[in-house]
């Protein structure tokens, strides 16, 4: 059974109600289990160019290297799987391209993009991300934010300057501290976590998460867990109903069956104690 028969996905990107163009981009490769979302920024059409380059490059790099990848192997030095390191390489490659275009094309100067990319493999997920687009995991009716925004708000909370509640009230949400294509170098965060049968992964741009509170997202996923297309459409509708001030993008993926290679990975574990 191929991965795409075990994981159901749904991708929607909507211009929203206030903008005239959509600077978000969403892509997937169902064979590999790769999901990508980018939220571009920059004048004229530059934001679209940045997010478009980001998703295309990530897909290209991962597809190119996928065949020869030593899957499941963990790098001793960094502690990350080959899959996670490939995602980082792909995101860095996208960054380089966007940066070069931004430097050489005057109409693209200053463009940038966020990115969240996720590879589902072996009942796990490897995530690489930069910026304030998010990945959540919905498990047993509970929505958990897995990524931490690279935003001023998060940085101030992390340093104890504010409680999360105060920061959400007082600090502007729209200042990102990292993005692809802006500086010569970019630092990509990697996360690896488990995926269980029934889990729904949600990747979203801030057009959803700034407009719709987490509780409402959670209720929507609970209600429409069996129909991801309806769930994705409903989330977009809620964001638009709340004002739709930004482009809204939603990527959903549900694990319908184990997608472990061979036996489930934890049945193959070596005992260490």
């Amino acid at each position: 059974m191929a991965l795409k028969d075990r994981v159901t996905t749904s991708l929607v990107s909507d211009v929203g109600r206030a903008r005239t163009n959509n600077e978000d981009a969403v892509e997937q490769d169902e064979e590999i289990g790769l999901l990508v979302l980018a939220d571009g920024m920059g004048g004229y059409n530059a934001g679209e160019i940045a997010s478009g380059i980001a998703t295309t490059t990530v897909l290209d790099v991962v597809r190119r290297d996928w065949k020869d990848l030593k899957r499941g192997e963990v790098d001793e030095e960094s502690g990350y799987s080959a899959e996670a390191l490939l995602l980082r390489k792909a995101v860095e490659s996208a960054h380089q391209t966007i940066y070069q275009v931004a430097q050489s094309q005057p109409q693209c100067a200053g463009m940038g993009t966020t990115i969240v990319t996720c590879l589902m493999h072996d009942d796990r997920m490897s995530i690489a991300y930069v910026g304030d687009s998010r990945l959540y995991r919905f498990r047993d009716n509970h929505l958990e934010q897995i990524t931490r925004d690279h935003s001023l708000l998060e940085e101030l909370v992390a340093r104890g300057h504010y409680s999360r509640e105060d920061a959400q009230r007082l600090v502007r949400k729209n200042i990102v501290t990292r993005a692809l294509g802006v500086e010569p170098e970019v630092s990509v965060d990697l996360i690896e976590d488990t995926v269980e049968i029934g889990d729904i992964l949600l990747i979203a741009s801030d057009g959803l998460t700034d407009m719709v509170p987490d509780e409402k997202i959670s209720l929507t996923l609970a209600k429409l867990a069996d129909n991801l297309d309806s769930a994705a459409e409903e989330l977009v509708r809620l964001a638009n109903e709340a004002g739709g001030k930004d482009n809204v993008s939603v990527v959903l993926a549900r694990a319908d069956a184990s997608f472990a290679r061979g036996r489930r990975w934890y049945e193959r574990l070596m005992e260490w104690f």
Binding site: R19, R159, V171, E196, F273
Partner: protein
């Protein structure tokens, strides 16, 4: 750019634009806003400005700093706030008030827009008020730099077995995802994220005993580990510790 309308103890008024990242207030002449008033400490307070937002911080002054009549240690300024320091008042006037447009336009804060001074300042200001739990979770707030490298070094944790034949044995949690336990009995996964380690029970549908953290059974949700948490798995006890 925001500004402060300073009215000193003699009733004299002047306007100070918040054009620098740090604008200091105090009795000494080396301050950006010197206040000749014995009730004011030498270096009394500072206003830090990031893009359009300004933050006021008291620098452990003797007589304290008030905003709108309330004692503050740290305070994000909003338009119309009145700061009282000694017998002086400073009114904050923000720029671009009510700009709902700000909402949608994402801005990128480039490294360097925060100076090192801001970093040190924020860390210092955060330290004394941090709750014990926060202090444990963030062993060294100074280590993570908001600017420049802008990638805080992830924490490193370990598990030490504290019961059974392997007592004293340690497992460094250097992987992004570490699995522990006896296959078919109990398995837990520990994942490393930017802000620390999380433990989750996997393969939970099999039923049976669940791993315990500090005596509490883990459910299917990830739980954050803090130093000295006890993890019990398949009859073996372990202690979690942050190394660096």
């Amino acid at each position: 750019m925001g500004k402060l309308i300073v009215t000193d103890s003699t009733g004299q008024t002047k306007e100070v634009p918040l054009s620098k990242e740090r604008v200091t207030i105090g009795r000494h002449a080396d301050n950006d806003i010197p206040l000749n008033d014995k009730a004011v400490s030498g270096h009394h307070a500072v206003v830090i400005t990031i893009l359009q937002d300004s933050f006021l911080e008291d620098l452990d002054s003797t007589n304290g700093t008030q905003v709108n009549g309330k004692q503050i240690a740290k305070h994000p300024l909003s338009h119309g706030d009145v700061i009282s320091i000694g017998r002086n008042s400073l009114k904050y006037e923000g720029e671009g008030q009510g700009g709902d447009d700000d909402f949608e336009k994402t801005m990128i804060l480039k490294p360097g827009q925060f100076g090192a001074a801001f970093d040190a300042q924020v860390s210092k200001a955060a330290a004394p008020t941090a709750a014990p739990a926060a202090a444990a979770a963030a062993p060294n707030p100074m280590a993570s730099s908001l600017a420049g490298t802008n990638a805080p070094k992830p924490v490193l944790g370990k598990l030490r077995v504290s019961s059974g034949p392997n007592m004293g044995k340690e497992l460094e949690l250097s992987k992004a995802l570490t699995t522990i336990g006896k296959p078919g009995v109990q398995v837990a996964a520990i994942t490393r994220r930017a802000d620390g380690y999380y433990i989750v029970h996997v393969g939970g549908q099999a039923g049976g005993a669940k791993p315990l953290v500090n005596g509490q059974a883990l459910d299917t949700q990830a739980r954050k580990l803090v130093s000295n948490d006890t993890v019990e798995l398949a009859g073996t006890q372990m202690t979690f510790m942050i190394i660096a």
